[in-house]
Each structure stands twice: as C-alpha cells, then as structure tokens.
C-alpha cells in the first residue's frame, strides 16, 4: 500500500506541474459552457420572431394590402429597383420579394398572383428569413382565400381538411433535445480527455525519458505501480469531468430557454446522482489510455493510438441518436453506454432503480481493474526495458 500511495503522490505533483497537459485538460471544461450556451442561444434566436424581418420589395405599390399585412407582422419594407438577381448574386441584397405589375389585375380576375422571392438557397444565413417570409405570405394567402369563400357563402373550413399545428416549434424542440443529449456526450468526452496527459506521461512518457528502468528496480509490485499511476490520472480526469458537468449545467440554467417556452431545471439531488452515475468513467478512461500508453514506445506514438480512444464516448451518443433502441435493464451494465443512459435519464428527471447505478458502476470499474492488471502484465515484459 505504501508504494501505491508513493506513486499516487508523485504523479499528482508531476501532473500538477505539467502546465501544458493541465491546460489542454482544462481547456475542454472551460469551453463546454460557452459552446452549449452559444448553441442554445443560436437555436432560440433563429426560431423566435424577436428580430424583425427586413425585406426589399420590387414594386411595393402594386400590392398595398399585402404590404400592409407584412408591416403589421413587423416586417420592415424597403422598396427596391434594379436587377434583383444580380443584386442577390453580388450579395448586395439577401433576398428580394417581387410584386408583379399585373398583381391587382390577377386578383380581380380571381387568378393566382405569383410573388417570387429571389434568394440564394445555398446561403445558410438567409434560409430562415426566407422561410419566415414564405410562411407569412402563405398565411396571407389563407386569409385572402377565406375572404373569397365567405363572399361566395362558403365556409373557409371547407378547404381545410387537415391542418398541422405548431409545426415550427416542434422542430426547434427536437434541436434542443439534441443539445440535451450533447451535454452527456460532452461530460463523457471530458472524462476521456482530462486525464489523458497524465495517463500517457506516466506510461509512454516513462519509457521515452528512460525513467522506467530505474523505477522498476524498486521493490514494488508492477500492479501497485500501475494502480498508483491510475488513481492519479483518474483523479485529474474526474476533476475535469465534474467541472465540465457543473459548468455545462450552469450554462443550461442561464441559457434563454424560456424564450421559447422550454423549462430546464435541476436539483441538487439530480447533480449528486449525475456525479454518482459518471464517476466510474474517468477510471475506465485512464485505464484504457494507460494500457495503450504502455504499448507505445513514445509520447507521440501513444497520442495517435489514444486519439481513437476519445472517439469511444461518441459511440453511445451516435447509437442513441440515430438508432434509438428500447432500453432494457441489462444495457446499464455496458460500460460507457450505461453511464450515458443514466445521464440522459437523470437529466430528464426519470426515477431510476438503484440497481441501474450499481450495475453500471460495478461493470465499468471491473473493466478498468482488468485493464490495469493487463497493463501491469505488459509492464513485466522484458521488451518494456530492452525494446
């Protein structure tokens, strides 16, 4: 035990003084809230009508009723003259609404009046305003048609067979839910990234700086050496993960979610459950990284292998997002996936049986211990010294 403690203590100090590794480890938690807040902010603002539409219109005098309707809906109208297509192509105008000369005449003859919107659909920044403008015109068309029917003594409901409600809001909600799923992904990535520097430095790094041989001549079991290093790397990984978690949750609490009628709240109990659910993850992450680290001959070598390991936490996210399977009890026992499930469910305020926490925690820690044992076996190979 004294050896595990000695190694743990030394690696903790060494890790703390490695400013570069520390910076990369904690840059990630620092960016998490900014990214999450930014994404939510962007989605909320794209969907809300808070910002006024500004529309350039060719020949606005030809359709005073339509223009007035748009203005009532908060659209700013600017008259435009000249070559509309060229102006959009040159990015002088974002999009242009054209009222044809025969607009009034066609309306009088009860023909369809077409008002083209000239825009460039390959530009993602104008896609949303154009969509909103089109929706407004469609609504205007609806009320105009209704008036025509009423004038003929027909109820406008006759032509409204099936109507879908809240179409836009639904898609925004979905996008927000994908952000809610991103938070667990981010937390898991943090667990895999924050301890990586120390995990690699204390394995591949030892080989590279030729300090492994002097270390191994000490009367210490290889397993104890690995355990000390593992606990130290896991300590940093856990701090990185928990700070990412807390900062992400704070970002979600302060994000303008209620602007679109979405309520996010979290209780202390939920936070404790989240930490409990995810705490085995850093241990698994660092044990895996150390195993690869001991395989590698140099720091650089190790980093290229370990880049692949950080993809691991994205797997449950991808499976869960693109191919949602019905959750069964045994699935909690799949390391990484189990933690992911627990997180999404705790965030969604789903009450869970304590067995779910126990099985996911035990299986994850068991796998990490096995990986550590494997690593210590590799450390006993003669090739570690001679190769």
């Amino acid at each position: 035990m004294h050896a595990i403690k000695a190694v743990f203590r030394k690696e903790l100090i060494d890790g703390f003084r490695d400013r570069r590794a520390l910076l990369t480890a904690f840059l990630f938690p620092a960016f998490a809230p900014i990214l999450i807040y930014g994404l939510i902010y962007a989605i909320v603002n794209l969907s809300s009508d808070a910002e006024n539409l500004k529309v350039s219109v060719i020949n606005p005098e030809a359709a005073p009723a339509l223009i007035q309707y748009l203005q009532e809906k908060g659209v700013e109208i600017t008259p435009f003259e000249g070559n509309a297509e060229q102006a959009v192509r040159d990015k002088k105008q974002e999009y242009i609404l054209e009222i044809p000369e025969d607009y009034q005449q066609r309306l009088r003859e009860f023909k369809t009046a077409i008002v083209p919107i000239i825009h460039d659909s390959s530009r993602s920044d104008t896609r949303n305003p154009v969509r909103r403008l089109r929706t407004l015109i469609r609504t205007y068309n609806g009320s105009l048609s209704a008036l025509r029917l009423i004038a003929r003594g027909v109820s406008p409901l006759v032509i409204q067979g099936v109507v879908s409600g809240n179409q836009d809001i639904a898609s925004e909600e979905q996008r927000l839910i994908s952000i809610f799923n991103m938070v667990p992904l981010y937390i898991m990535l943090a667990a895999f990234i924050a301890g990586m520097g120390l995990a690699v430095d204390s394995t591949a790094g030892e080989r590279e700086r030729k300090s492994l041989e002097p270390l191994l001549v000490n009367p210490v079991l290889r397993l104890h050496l690995i355990q000390g290093k593992w606990l130290a790397a896991s300590f940093y990984a856990a701090i990185g993960m928990i700070s990412t978690m807390l900062l992400s949750l704070i970002a979600m609490l302060y994000a303008p979610l209620d602007d679109i009628g979405f309520v996010f709240s979290i209780s202390i109990e939920q936070i404790i459950l989240l930490i409990l659910a995810t705490l085995p993850l850093p241990f698994l992450a660092t044990s895996l990284e150390m195993l690869l680290g001991i395989f590698a001959k140099s720091f650089k070598d190790a980093q290229s292998y370990i880049g692949l390991v950080t993809l691991m936490p994205t797997l449950p996210f991808i499976i869960h997002t693109f191919n949602p399977v019905p959750i069964q009890d045994w699935m909690y026992a799949i390391p990484v996936f189990g933690q992911y499930l627990l997180m999404t469910e705790v965030l969604g305020a789903v009450e869970l049986h304590w067995l779910a926490y126990l099985s996911s925690g035990v299986s994850c820690l068991l796998l990490s211990v096995l990986l550590c044992m494997l690593t210590s076996r590799l450390l006993a190979r003669e090739a570690v010294i001679t190769g």
């Binding site: 004294h2 030729k210 300090s211 492994l212 041989e213 003669e382 010294i385």
Partner: protein
C-alpha cells in the same frame, strides 16, 4: 554479497550472455570490465531482476532474485543502464520518491536524503527541478536515489560514463566510502584505468562470457602482459576470434 551462478540469456538469435558466474563480496569493490556490447548490462539486468535468465540463478545476501524479486531488490541499490529523471521534480523529490517506494519511514527520509546530498556534494541543486541538469548533476541524483534505503549491496552500471573529471572523482570517492562501510559494490565499466585503480576484484567479460577474473595482478599474469590495458585487449580479442 552477490552471487551470480551460471546465467545465460538469449534474445532471439543473439546469445547475449553465456554461463556467466561471478561473486562480489562485502567490503570489496568488484569491477565488471568489458567492451561495449560484451553483455555487461544484460548480466546486471538479470542481477537486479528486470530480465529472467534462461538458466542459472542469482542471489543477493542469499535471496533468490528471480523467485523473491521485491525482497532481493530491497537489499540492492541500483544505478541501472537508463538514467531518466522526471524533469518537473526536484532532486530532493526524486530521492524521497525512491525512498518511499522502498518503504523508508517518513521521519527518516529527510535525514537520509540530507546525508546523501552532503556526501555527493549536491546541496546547491537539491531543491531545483532536474530539468536542465548537467550530465554530472543528473548522475548524482540517480546515485542518491539508488542509495536512499541504505542498501547492503550496490550495483552500478557504468557510473562514470560521460562524466567530467570532477564528478568522476566524486563517484569514485563514493564507491570507496561504501566499501569502507562494508557494503558490496559491483560496478561495470569499459575504462581500464578506472577499474585498475578502484577494484579489489576484476571480472573481464567479452562476447557474453567471462574470460578472466581475479585481482589486478592476477589478470596481468593470466594475459602475460605488464600493462593491464594490453591484457584487456588481448583477452577480449581472444574471445571474439
């Protein structure tokens, strides 16, 4: 007391050492002399428990190195072939770390470290991080951390390799000091004059086998040369041919 009995070690096609035996006694300095690639480091790595011999056995004060590795390692202070340090730790932290790995009690750690720091004349660098240390300063840290648990047997793999005159002299003083304390000192070198000046016993190894052993005078007699260096060259070449 270190006893190496008939050890052999093969790496694939290469027979690194073949039936090497030697004894190093307490209160004596034993030199393992040989050209580069003769198998000195392999023999020592088997001795300090990092390589498993294909045959033969090694005991340190009667403890079998292979079957009771930690116990045997506790009885040895080792300067291995590799001299890597942790650049972000100070010299003193290196010494304490190895002391703790050996189970040296916390209340003794400070005093023992201070004694070694004085002995190796490294007071001015003791609390500096080892990053940027010179070759000689690094060697002192390696020696100090190897001796922190007061071992009865000291094994040094090329302790003076690449050092300047001042540090080399310090290392030699250290070995004589250890000898005076009745400690077993076994060290390897490819430098003839160093071995001739320091050692009580010399073992010459070439192409993986022991070609001669004895005191300085005895080696000279075996080779039939007055000069030890000529004796060394003749013995090594005889084996390679």
């Amino acid at each position: 007391m270190i006893e190496i009995d008939n050890i052999s070690k093969r790496f694939g096609e290469i027979q690194a050492i073949k039936k090497v035996s030697l004894q190093a006694a307490n209160g004596k300095i034993t030199g393992l002399l040989g050209p580069n690639g003769a198998g000195k480091s392999t023999a020592l790595r088997v001795l300090y428990g990092l390589l498993k011999p294909d045959e033969g056995k090694v005991t340190v004060d009667g403890t079998d190195v292979f079957h009771q590795r930690p116990e045997a390692q506790r009885k040895m202070g080792v300067l291995p072939d590799a001299h890597g340090l942790y650049g972000r730790l100070t010299a003193r932290e290196h010494i304490s770390y190895f002391g703790r790995l050996h189970g040296v009690a916390e209340n003794e750690l400070g005093n023992q470290a201070d004694e070694l720091i004085r002995l190796l004349d490294m007071q001015s660098i003791a609390d500096r991080r080892t990053e940027g240390f010179s070759q000689g300063e690094r060697m002192k840290v390696c020696l100090a951390r190897a001796l922190i648990h007061r071992p009865g047997n000291v094994v040094l793999d090329e302790p003076t390799n690449g050092l300047d005159v001042m540090t080399t002299r310090k290392v030699r003083e250290l070995m004589l000091e250890l000898k005076a304390r009745d400690i077993t000192v076994l060290f390897s070198s490819h430098l003839m004059h160093e071995v001739a000046r320091l050692c009580d016993e010399i073992i010459i190894i070439a192409a993986g086998t022991v070609v001669a052993e004895g005191t300085t005078a005895e080696i000279r007699d075996i080779a039939g040369e007055d000069n030890l260096e000529d004796a060394f060259v003749r013995l090594s070449e005889g084996e390679s041919r």
